[in-house]
């Protein structure tokens, strides 16, 4: 029964809508296969340019982030610096903050209007640079994630590596033979997330005035000609294909076996030198990000800031506006993302169970398919939903499905599902079978065993899954921009975007952005502090992220 519900969920909210979208792009008005639309797409140089630009930006952002992260991670690794779990957590903040906030902050800092740009008077405005600035913003935004995943995967055996170094291995040999192979799963994970997110990002290129990318082109067509437009279906299909290929490539890289046990000989206390290296590296990075976000922080308290180095007058009113008028968006975020995350945990647990129990040849196939879910971009999913659910009537509410807020959490849940499956799989693997067997043998009913033994033991893993899915949903602006039925229903990431669209400074939007970053950081820390007594917390938090099997 449960499994048929699972099948219905997957069919209704993923397979059928996306399948119908692919078909719409490849068939003509009579429903026959025809290459008419494909020919139209290929005939327009703008779409070809968008394709190559999207690839360049996504690959470039992933490479830049990796190139910046590698030397720093190597340095920390050589000196056995292991950041505290709180710092590691900060590395995951990019997953919970929309990148376009950084783009707008850089506009304030580097544009002619104020701060550095005003001081230097040069054309550093990211909107003038265009394409490279989109790449730079995405790379800067996801760099902490790449760095932290790299540190996490390599730190396990830093002591052993130290021994190797003492045996006379050269610096280069140490890096190519030990550091890179160790770090590959983390690096591949961080880079593929950067690639997929940069490919899918809609708000960042739009705020920087960059139009010739796949996501904005699909968005423009849908908003100008409606969701039934076949060319937008084709562009969305193209995005799904590219993302799937990228994801598969990254899986190839991380298929090797990785040991997650912490190193046997971890240094008990850090030396003075180690502390200095660690503090200066991580402190430098934190300072960099604080500086990058001062553009938004200043606008959030500025009343008049126009062509001066710093704002000429300040006001707390933007925060009052954000807290007063936009309280609803925080509640919306709680509702939609909470709903999506609950669905994710339930479906993820079921799927993890199904994968665990499947026959070996199905197992690999299912694991890959589940991971492949991650490659459905938000724009593509939103277009598929708009086309598919247009005509579905809700039975009791006397309105169609697309007018309700219902589609948004469902789209969020599909987007968060791969993370949920991964987290649930790890939770299931950690379940000691001896306990379950013992309970079964002592004659407990299946229900009793499930509620008294299995669920309590899974609870922590499920909780982590819930949190992760919540965070992924909270910044999913690409699907929100197409699916939000009204502003009152907007989750906070979209509210930030809308509030930035003001005529008199971006005060309220900036205040909202600062508030939500603060809120996310605070809640992550509080939750971690709550979970800290459980010694398994830290390691399992690290573990669920990676796809290493």
């Amino acid at each position: 029964m449960l499994f048929s519900a699972l099948a219905v969920y997957l069919l209704a909210f993923l397979v059928l809508p996306v399948g119908a979208m692919v078909l719409r792009g490849l068939t003509n008005a009579d429903g026959q296969f025809a290459a008419d639309h494909l020919r139209l797409l290929l005939a327009n140089p703008v779409y070809l340019e968008s394709l190559s630009n999207s690839l360049v930006i996504a690959c470039g952002a992933a490479l830049l982030a990796a190139l910046a992260a590698l030397p720093i991670a190597m340095l920390l690794w050589r000196h056995h610096v292991r950041p505290s779990i709180y710092i590691e957590l900060c590395g995951f903040l990019p997953l919970f903050v929309p990148p376009f906030v950084l783009a707008l902050s850089l506009q304030n800092l580097l544009g002619h209007g104020g701060a550095l740009g005003w001081l230097l008077g040069s054309d550093l405005d990211p909107a003038i640079l265009g394409l490279p600035s989109v790449m730079l913003v995405e790379a800067l935004h996801y760099f902490p994630l790449v760095l932290m995943t790299l540190i996490m995967t390599t730190s396990v055996s830093s002591q052993q590596a130290c021994e190797a170094a003492r045996l006379g291995s050269s610096w280069w040999r140490l890096m190519t033979r030990i550091f890179l192979p160790l770090g590959m799963p983390g690096l591949a994970f961080g880079m593929s997330i950067t690639f997929l997110k940069a490919m899918d990002d809609l708000a960042t290129p739009l705020s920087l005035g960059v139009t010739n990318l796949l996501a904005p082109q699909a968005f423009f067509r849908v908003s100008a000609y409606g969701s039934q437009d076949p060319l937008s279906s084709l562009i969305a299909t193209l995005m799904v294909l590219i993302s799937a290929l990228a994801w598969l490539a990254s899986i190839r890289l991380v298929r090797q076996h990785v040991s997650w046990r912490s190193g046997a000989f971890v240094a008990a206390t850090a030396s003075r030198r180690q502390t200095i290296v660690g503090l200066s590296c991580l402190g430098g990075i934190v300072m960099l990000y604080v500086t990058l976000y001062t553009g938004v922080a200043l606008t959030s308290i500025a009343r008049i800031w126009s062509y001066t180095l710093l704002p000429e007058s300040f006001t707390p009113s933007h925060y009052l506006t954000a807290l007063g008028d936009e309280r609803g968006s925080f509640i919306n975020t709680l509702i939609y993302c909470g709903f999506a995350a609950v669905v994710d945990v339930l479906v993820g647990l079921l799927m993890a169970y199904a994968i665990d129990r499947a026959a070996p040849r199905w197992k690999t196939w299912l694991t890959w398919a589940a991971a492949g879910l991650l490659s459905v971009p938000g724009v593509a999913l939103a277009i598929a939903y708009l086309q598919f659910f247009r005509v579905v009537e809700l039975p009791f509410f006397d309105q169609t499905l697309d007018a309700s807020w219902f589609m948004l959490p469902m789209a969020f849940s599909v987007r968060g599902l791969p993370f949920a499956i991964r987290a649930c799989t790890i939770a299931l693997q950690r379940l000691p079978t001896t306990y379950v067997d013992a309970a079964n043998l002592s004659g407990g009913s299946r229900f009793r065993v499930a509620t008294k033994i299995v669920l309590p033991m899974l609870a922590f893993g499920l909780f982590v899954a819930f949190l992760l899915c919540f965070g992924v949903a909270a910044v999913d602006l690409s699907s929100a921009m197409l699916l939000v039925p009204s502003e009152t229903d907007a989750p906070v990431a979209y509210s930030i975007y809308l509030n930035m669209q003001s005529t008199t400074g971006r005060g309220a939007g900036s205040a909202l952005a600062i508030l939500s970053i603060a809120l996310v950081t605070l809640s992550l820390f509080v939750l971690l502090a709550l979970l800290r007594p459980n010694s398994k917390a830290a390691s399992s938090f690290r573990k669920f992220v990676f796809t290493a099997s």
Partner: protein, 441 residues
């Protein structure tokens, strides 16, 4: 052991319960909402929502925000029963298109607002939509930005093609902003099709960036990121009256057009929608327009004698008197999609190339003014002709066709041609300008 195991599951259960409780609260609260689709900035929407919700506690206003130009595709995607109740926008074309497709409900004669001010029709003659505020368009500039560069402030559109404005202007896209579409269309109708496109393309060539939404234009100018912007009046005035060092001048040709409000056919809550329309047209609703962060021209004449009005606020009659409108909304509505498509293919998606051509032409002309050369002049003129042309005839069959699925398909086919042509035009024009430059050097 037992207690330790149970705590996390309880926490999880709490979260589930909280989410379910919030969900049910949501369903219960959704009963009497009035959904207003509007392209207006947040400042306007928040002010009206607060005032209306306070006046009528039984209703709750919700907004759907997207460019006014997209209302047709939005309603096409939303069947009756799932549509917004009210449409409120400056995009006159959209109201005509809605009317033509039977997507509006008649609201009859409501409120005290006059049907005609000066020569401008405020209301729809058949009683389907009513003017709620008047607006004209023009140029806004940041006084500090221009003073720092010793650039004179512009007075009208044609000033913006001058080389000293290169890289300092900012405008939005006609296809993404209803007000920018109106600016483009009023230039096309006022100056003529080809001269109009030439002017628009020259201005766009001087632009530092083409913003995605109209709000980013006043935002860039008030913050001093860029110096000059093409905007509808209230976007500039709200910055000025909020204390930013910006100023505004109505430009010509420009259309004085009412921002209208209408009841959508297939609305969920028609009664609530009518209440909102009545409120927007009432004296209280009109007075909200004078707020510094809104700064729009009310259509109710008595508001202009209100004490809330700032001293140098534009007067209705002056604005209308100074701007003889040459604007034919029927022409505009018929070619709406085509104008947007041309703008996209020649400006939005090709902006970098257009800027490069314009830079080369300005450089060549600067040298030409110092060393006259007939051959170089001919080359530059040829480059200008290639770069600043629409490449689509005004008599093109697409222009008069009623917007339909077939027209959308036809446009998609032609878009590919226009995109190719725009690319080759800009490349050739740049080469010619550089040739002229080399000749002059």
């Amino acid at each position: 052991m037992k207690g330790k195991c149970l705590r996390p599951i309880n926490r999880f259960a709490y979260v589930v319960c909280l989410v379910l409780a919030l969900l049910s609260a949501r369903v219960a609260a959704a009963a009497e909402s009035v959904v207003v689709a509007s392209s207006f900035p947040k400042e306007v929407l928040v002010a009206y929502k607060k005032a209306f919700d306070e006046r009528y506690p039984q209703y709750r206003v919700e907004f759907v925000n997207f460019p006014g130009t997209h209302i047709m595709s939005y309603l096409a995607d939303h069947p009756a029963g799932s549509r917004p109740d009210v449409f409120w926008s400056s995009s006159a074309d959209s109201f005509r298109a809605l009317l033509r497709h039977g997507l509006l409900q008649p609201i009859g004669d409501r409120g005290e607002t006059p049907a005609k001010i000066g020569g401008v029709d405020i209301d729809d003659a058949q009683g389907f939509y009513k003017g709620q505020a008047l607006s004209g368009s023009g140029v806004m500039w940041n006084t500090r930005y221009l003073a720092a560069r010793a650039i004179a402030s512009p007075a009208t559109w044609s000033d913006l093609v001058r080389p000293e404005y290169f890289g300092h202007v900012v405008m939005s896209s006609a296809s993404r902003s209803g007000t920018t579409h109106l600016i483009v269309e009023s230039i096309l109708q006022g100056a003529g099709w080809e001269p109009g496109w030439s002017l628009i393309l020259q201005i766009a060539g001087n632009c530092a960036t083409i913003t995605d939404r109209s709000f980013d234009v006043p935002n860039s100018v008030t913050s001093g990121r860029f110096g000059v912007g093409l905007v509808v009046d209230f976007l500039a005035l709200s910055g000025k009256y909020s204390g930013f060092p910006v100023d505004f001048s109505y430009a010509s040709p420009s259309a004085i057009i009412p921002a209208s409000i209408a009841l959508v056919a297939g609305a969920r809550n028609s009664a609530g929608g009518v209440k909102f329309i009545d409120f927007a047209l009432s004296a209280d609703g009109q007075r909200l327009l004078l707020r510094p962060e809104i700064s729009r021209l009310p259509v109710l004449p008595e508001i202009y004698s209100s004490p809330d009005k700032p001293a140098d606020y534009p007067d209705l009659i002056d604005v209308i008197g100074n701007n003889p409108s040459v604007y034919d909304p029927e022409v505009s509505a018929a070619r709406h999609l085509v104008v947007n498509a041309i703008f996209n293919q020649r400006v939005s998606f090709r902006h970098r190339e257009l800027v490069a051509v314009t830079r080369a032409i300005h450089a060549a002309e600067r040298l030409l003014s110092q060393r006259p050369s007939p051959q170089a002049r001919a080359l530059i003129e040829q480059a200008r002709r290639l770069a600043y042309r629409s490449a689509v005839a005004e008599s093109d069959e697409l222009m008069s066709a009623a917007p339909s699925r077939a027209q959308v398909a036809a446009i998609a086919g032609r878009e590919a041609q226009w995109a190719t042509l725009a690319g080759s035009d800009y490349q050739a024009a740049r080469k010619l300008a550089e040739q002229a430059l080399a000749m002059l050097q």
